[in-house]
Symmetry: C2
Subunit: 180 residues, 2 copies
């Protein structure tokens, strides 16, 4: 698996079921959402701004890969008695390739904290994409893999940045909408 | 990671939070349970019986590794209005090593169906244990990895045995009880 193949297979609209586990409080969270992943032009203003931000701090040479946008629209904590919260957003992602198995993803919004984030990615021997991101308060490790052509799984682990304390985990099962 | 190290690190008592996703029905399931993993004597009757069953169908030579027992006690579907179901059980597992990265696990009860099951295991480059099991009606793929010394994650994907249809997925976050 290469990052180009991975992005190509991820393109499209996905119906996501996501479970969050808060380990300290033994609490579950359930979220149904719609996720759309689409390629964007590398000359778009958002892409150029994001890339300039990265360039300031980085000396290593990477190959610039097709940027893409991830949009989501979620129905959170969908218990019958709860007024259902709807949250949505989007994020620009620029992949920068180091070699065939690894590189960086620059994201306009991070997974764990709402700031520009830089993730190291690495493919394992079975084609799983492993992302590691250092935030100010936390470290996130995400794994994304294809269970089949049209089913994608994503797990995440959030640790405190000081120690090895694990705050929460999550798992999402994503089914591609074939009609699009 | 070797299978011996993996079993040694898994030994103990774990508090598990498990989420199940039924993809066709977009339904979530939540299960809290207690899991205990302990080494057992290779001369125990259950181990000998299980091993004989395996020997009948197998010609390849494997190294017999320390067998262990997994016991669980679960509180299922813990919605406030539901009378909570408690299910429990246990399973003997014999690891048979092919080489440093792969081999078989013979289980007295399978993960997806209640019959003796034989799983192929393989470690990925980042130490994740990937198990594949063919049942009569389904194929299960499980991944187990350590997020830290005391936190273990397990994901599973269940497919129909005829095609590539994915029936359900699950994810468990397991925290080791340190006091034991």
């Amino acid at each position: 698996m290469t990052i180009e193949q991975f992005i190509a297979q991820s393109e499209g609209s996905w119906r996501s079921m996501r479970s969050g586990h808060s380990l300290a409080f033994q609490q579950f969270e359930e979220v149904l959402s719609e996720i759309t992943i689409e390629k964007i032009d590398k000359n778009e203003e958002g892409v150029i701004e994001l890339y300039q931000n990265y360039k300031k701090n980085e000396v290593e040479v990477h190959i610039f890969i097709q940027p893409f946008k991830m949009s989501w629209s979620a129905e959170s904590d969908w218990e019958p008695d709860d007024p259902s919260e709807v949250s949505s957003g989007n994020c620009i992602i620029i992949p920068l390739k180091r070699d065939d198995e690894s590189g960086l993803l620059i994201r306009s919004i991070g997974y764990a904290e709402s700031q520009i984030a830089q993730s190291n990615y690495q493919f394992t021997s079975d084609g799983t994409l492993v992302l590691k991101t250092h935030y100010e308060q936390s470290i996130a490790e995400e794994r994304i893999w294809f269970a089949s052509e049209n089913v994608r799984c994503r797990s995440s682990i959030l640790k405190t940045s000081e120690g090895s304390g694990i705050l929460q985990t999550s798992f999402a099962s994503e089914v591609k909408r074939i009609s699009l």
